[in-house]
Structures are given as structure tokens and as C-alpha cells.
């Protein structure tokens, strides 16, 4: 086990505290099992999921500078477990670190707002890391392999990365945005087989689902069908917004594409949790719209 204990300022995000509570539960469960310490940012606020920026860049930068400053006050890296939160906050951090050098007036403007409201200033002294990157980079795949008690042998897993995780930031620590492997490397480490298909790096359709439902669901539908055709037993995603569209809306997606799907979609920490021997209920696997029974019986049989 890596030592000293890994510690992070944990940014839970909206969805894990709302419609994907099972993500909150499973992140909590696996970090406890792996002895990764999380200090939850109770005063943090929604990253805006790319929507603040449609109002103004300044709004996205200022609200997220405050979020980052909360982690900086603890002298800890900020942990996300949502592709969208990661892409948004990670990019704000990149942009403000650059502004500190090249656009000091803008940097001062952002910090001026924070000061005016009594928030700690943004310093640019920490890092923003998705749980996926923490597992691959900080904890390490070898260390993770040592903790696997229930190898996921025979399970065919199709990654669904989420746009913001791959393309929201200028630079990624472990992946080529056009040819990522982090998720697949985790699958192999857990004993599962990665399934490759074009959709793994594409959009789930969530951002337009409130007003362009048919288009949103047909986008999701083609990825799900493609993953099934490639032999996947389940999809695994590091993004709860993708999960909402791919799992919760699967009955509507089936209607739009006119075919049966019924493929379970797991959150990344749920898959890791199963391999660590954590009970499915503790990972919230009973809270899915598409039942995961088929997958659990396949694991029990192997």
C-alpha cells in the first residue's frame, strides 16, 4: 500500500449527492477500503457543468476559483469523481495558472471578487484530479492489483469516458485524448476484459437531453448498441451525467432506437469496489434503473 496515506479535498458535485447517490456511496466505500483519505468540501458549489461559461468566462472562473481555493486552504489536491466537474474545474485551474503569469489584471479581477466576498484567494498552488487519475497515477495500478480479492475474470467492460474528462482540459496527465487507455488499464488490473468501440470517447447526449430528447437519446442509443455488439457485459463510466443518460434514460432510449438494450452501466468506483470484495448493496448497485443482476451472476459463476 502506498504510504503515507493519500489525502484529498473531495469535491462531491451535484449529481453524486442527488440522482446518483450510488456514486457517492461507492467512492466512499472504495477510498475507505484503499485507505485513501477524503476531506469533503462542505462549502463548495456546483462547477456549472460548462453552463456558467455560456453566461461568461468570468463567472465560470470565479465560482471555480473559490472551489479550488477551498482545497488550497487544506493544502490538498482537489478530487473529483465526475468527468464534467473534472474538465470544468481542471480547465479553470489551467487557465488561471496561466493568467497569473500572462494576464495578471484578469487574475486580480477574479481574486478581487473572492476577497470582496470574504473567500480565501485562489493561489494556483494545487492540482485537480479525477478519481480515475488518482487510481492510475497516485495509488498506482500495481498497488491496486494487490488489493483485488474478487478478480473480475471474464467480465467484458466497455469504458465510457465522458467528453469533459478527455477534451475539457489542455493537457491530461495519463491519456491521449484521442486514444485513452486509463479506464481499460483499470479493467485489466481488476481482471476484466476491456471492450473497445468508437463510442467510448464520444458524447452521451446528456447536455441536450432536457430539450432535444430524441437527438440526445439516439446519440446514447448508438453507443449502447455498439458496445453490446462489441460484446460488452456492461458499460463503466467515470461520469455521473453520462450515467444519468445511459442508465436512467435507457427505457426512453430503447423507444427512440426501436430496440432492446438492457445493458447495465456502472460507475467507475462500483466496478473497482466489486473487485475489492465490497458488497453490491454498499456500492449502491441496487439503485440502478437497468438491473445489474446478470452481471453479478456472471461474476459469481466465474
Amino acid at each position: 500500500m502506498p504510504s503515507p496515506t493519500l489525502q484529498y479535498a473531495y469535491f462531491p458535485g451535484c449529481v453524486a449527492q442527488g440522482a446518483c447517490r450510488e456514486l457517492y456511496l461507492s467512492t466512499e466505500a472504495i477510498t475507505r477500503a484503499l485507505n485513501i483519505q477524503l476531506i469533503e468540501l462542505k462549502k463548495a458549489a456546483c462547477c456549472g457543468s460548462g453552463t456558467y461559461k455560456e453566461d461568461s468566462q468570468l463567472l465560470e472562473d470565479t465560482v471555480n476559483a473559490r472551489n479550488i481555493a477551498l482545497a488550497e486552504s487544506l493544502n490538498l489536491p482537489l478530487l473529483t469523481h465526475c468527468s464534467t466537474c473534472q474538465g470544468v474545474i481542471g480547465h479553470v485551474d489551467e487557465r488561471l495558472k496561466e493568467a497569473k503569469e500572462k494576464e495578471p489584471a484578469y487574475f486580480q479581477q477574479v481574486n478581487g471578487f473572492l476577497k470582496q466576498e470574504g473567500c480565501s484567494p485562489y493561489r494556483g498552488s494545487t492540482e485537480i484530479k479525477h478519481l480515475l487519475w488518482v487510481l492510475v497515477g497516485d495509488y498506482g495500478l500495481e498497488a491496486l492489483a494487490e488489493r483485488v480479492t474478487q478478480s473480475l475474470t471474464g467480465l467484458n467492460c466497455a469504458a465510457f469516458y465522458g467528453c469533459y474528462l478527455l477534451r475539457g482540459q489542455k493537457t491530461l496527465p495519463h491519456d491521449d485524448p484521442l486514444n485513452p487507455e486509463s479506464m481499460e488499464n483499470i479493467f485489466r488490473t481488476l481482471g476484466a476484459n476491456p471492450v473497445y468501440y468508437r463510442g467510448r470517447t464520444q458524447c452521451c447526449g446528456w447536455p441536450i437531453s432536457s430539450y432535444a430528447t430524441k437527438e440526445s437519446f439516439s446519440l446514447a442509443g448508438r453507443h449502447l448498441m455498439e458496445a453490446i455488439a462489441a460484446g460488452a457485459d456492461c458499460l463503466v463510466t467515470p461520469c455521473p451525467l453520462c450515467h444519468l443518460n445511459l442508465d436512467s434514460r435507457q427505457p426512453e432510449i430503447e423507444k427512440v432506437i426501436g430496440g432492446k438494450l438492457g445493458i447495465p452501466v456502472l460507475h467507475l468506483p462500483q466496478l473497482v469496489g466489486l473487485a475489492l470484495g465490497i458488497k453490491p448493496e454498499e456500492l449502491g448497485l441496487d439503485k440502478h434503473i437497468v438491473p445489474v443482476g446478470s452481471l453479478l451472476s456472471k461474476l459469481r459463476a466465474s
Binding site: S56, L58, G168, E215
Partner: protein, 328 residues
């Protein structure tokens, strides 16, 4: 070194098939140079578009190792190191296919009619009044000009359109190239049709609201136009001029900010009711959410409670002062 070029070939109305060509090349050779050699030395029937060889004309766009790029810009060495794949005899392979979202005419040549029609649809010219020749030259400050810089770089190569996720499922969406050009018109200080343009670009899902923010256009653009960012700039202008009632896509954005001000985090129950149900005014919209709500309740997935962030007051005040600084 020896490299295998796996090229997706297609006859008019035929099915696509893979054909491999083996070539002795150097790492610095561009993909276009390799294709020229295949055509000139091995197989004269291979069809592809090309012209300037210098990343200016935008003719030779194709899918190289899975993503749309200019064949004259990418070279063998970087392709092999970025997308390592080898064939059965251990030779490096590079896969080349026609653009996505375009019908194929032959091999790597695609039918680009919808691309040009969609560009035309956004009225890609500085408005007539702006085009009248004044007594002296048009004056534009460096700051005004700088807003046109990124979209002005567009060479209309089609890479963004080819990878656009929204285009795959929405034939009405005009595409990132057209909306990047639209931004160039909206921000041009000489254009006199700004308000009319903004009214058009906000309609339905053929304009800016059709974008799914998949970032693919930004990812593949060879000229740093960053179309998604340009689309975002049009959205900023639209959101500044419209209120919640204007349309569901606009309400989606406004309500998100409202809810963060109210609770720090987004209360998803209220998000659904306010955005889709238009605060109980749109009963059909509300009813469309009912099956989702019921199945979430059945699975214990429905958020019955909402816990506001402990920093709600601070965030609300922060958002208000930031917005006041530009909204006044």
C-alpha cells in the same frame, strides 16, 4: 521504414472495404505525400482530394487513425508514435478513412453539399449596410479585430463537421463550421444585423442550442478556430438578451445559475420541474418526466432530500457581484 497504409475504399453506391498498401517511407513524410506515392506508384485508382500541400486550402481532410485531420499536416512518425498499431508481420500500420457525417462519393472523396448549404444558412457575410463603401476606410480597433481572430483562421476543411456528435443525430444542426462563422459575423463591429442574427441563431436546435458540447470540434480543428468556444460566445450574447421564458434551452442555463444561488449545489428535482415543466406551466413537459421520476422512486434513486452547501450564502453573493459587474 516500411509502413502499411490501410485505406477504406468505396465505389459509388458500393460497400466500404479495406485495402492495404506497403510503402517505404520516412518519419517526416506527410500522410499526403504517402497517398500521392500510392496513387502514382502503386494504384492510380485511389481517389482523394488535395491541393496546396501546406495546410492552407483545407482540401485533404480525412480520418487518419480514427480522427479527422489534414493529410498534409500529419506525418508518419508522429502517427506511429501516437497511435501504435502493427500488422501480423510487425509492420507499423496507419489507417485512413473518409470523413464522417459526409456521404462518400469514392474512396476518400466525400459529398460536401450539406456542409456548404449549412454555411450559407447562417448568412456568412457582413451585412449589406456594412458592405456599403464609406468615404474613408472602415475603422476597427485592435480589440474589436481580435474578437474575429480565431474564427477568421477557419479554412473550411470540414474536420469539425466530420467529428461533430450533434450532426450525427440532428440533420437540422448547421454544424460547428457554420456557427464559428456566425460568431465572426456577430462580433464584427461593421455588421449591422447583429440582433437579427442572434434571433436566428437561437431558434430550435438548428443553431447554437443543437451543440452537445462534446468538444470534438475543438479537439480536431487544425487551425485553432476552437468552434465550440465560438459557439459559447454566441450563447453569451443570446443569454444576455433573453429571460427564462424565451425557450427551454435558455431556461436550462438560467435555472442552473438560479439553483446554485439557492443551494450551492443543483437540486435536480427543481431543475426538472423548472426547466422541462416551466414552473408547472408546461404540463406536457412535466408529464414527460413522470416515467423517469417513478422509475427512480421505485429504485430508491430519486433524491427525496436536498442538502444545501454550507457555502451557499457566500456563493450566491459571489455570483451576484460577478454578474453585476457586466450586467450592471
Amino acid at each position: 521504414m516500411e509502413v502499411i497504409f490501410k485505406i477504406v475504399r468505396q465505389q459509388p453506391k458500393g460497400l466500404p472495404k479495406l485495402q492495404s498498401y506497403r510503402l517505404e517511407v520516412e518519419g517526416r513524410n506527410t500522410i499526403l505525400e504517402c497517398l500521392n506515392r500510392i496513387k502514382w506508384e502503386i494504384d492510380g485508382s485511389l481517389a482523394f482530394r488535395k491541393n496546396c500541400r501546406n495546410t492552407i486550402c483545407g482540401s485533404c481532410t480525412m480520418r487518419i487513425n480514427g480522427r479527422s485531420a489534414l493529410a498534409c499536416k500529419e506525418n508518419v512518425g508522429s502517427e506511429i508514435s501516437r497511435f501504435p498499431q502493427v500488422n501480423s508481420t510487425n509492420l507499423p500500420e496507419i489507417t485512413i478513412a473518409p470523413l464522417g457525417n459526409f456521404p462518400v462519393i469514392k474512396d476518400l472523396v466525400t459529398e460536401m453539399k450539406s456542409f456548404w448549404d449549412n454555411l450559407e444558412a447562417i448568412d456568412p457575410y457582413v451585412s449589406t449596410q456594412g458592405r456599403n463603401i464609406p468615404e474613408r476606410e472602415f475603422l476597427q480597433t485592435p480589440k474589436e479585430r481580435s474578437q474575429l481572430e480565431a474564427s477568421g483562421n477557419c479554412i473550411l476543411c470540414g474536420a469539425c463537421y466530420s467529428e461533430c456528435n450533434a450532426r450525427e443525430v440532428n440533420p437540422d444542426f448547421v454544424g460547428p463550421h457554420a456557427l464559428a462563422k456566425a460568431q465572426r459575423m456577430v462580433k464584427d463591429s461593421r455588421d449591422s444585423q447583429k440582433e437579427e442574427r442572434l434571433d436566428r441563431y437561437k431558434q430550435g436546435i438548428e443553431g447554437v442550442w443543437g451543440c452537445t458540447r462534446c468538444y470534438m470540434c475543438n479537439e480536431v480543428c487544425p487551425m485553432e478556430v476552437q468552434p465550440m468556444d465560438r459557439i459559447g460566445e454566441i450563447k453569451q450574447e443570446i443569454l444576455a438578451r433573453n429571460n427564462h421564458g424565451a425557450s427551454r434551452p435558455i431556461r436550462h442555463r438560467k435555472v442552473l445559475v438560479d439553483l446554485v444561488k439557492a443551494g450551492g449545489w443543483v437540486d435536480e428535482r427543481k431543475f426538472g420541474i423548472q426547466v422541462v415543466g416551466n414552473y408547472f406551466r408546461d404540463l406536457q413537459g412535466l408529464m414527460s418526466l413522470a416515467p423517469l421520476g417513478l422509475r427512480m422512486i421505485a429504485k430508491g434513486k430519486f433524491p427525496l432530500t436536498f442538502e444545501a452547501s454550507e457555502g451557499t450564502q457566500e456563493v450566491r453573493s459571489l455570483i451576484e457581484s460577478v454578474k453585476e459587474s457586466y450586467e450592471g
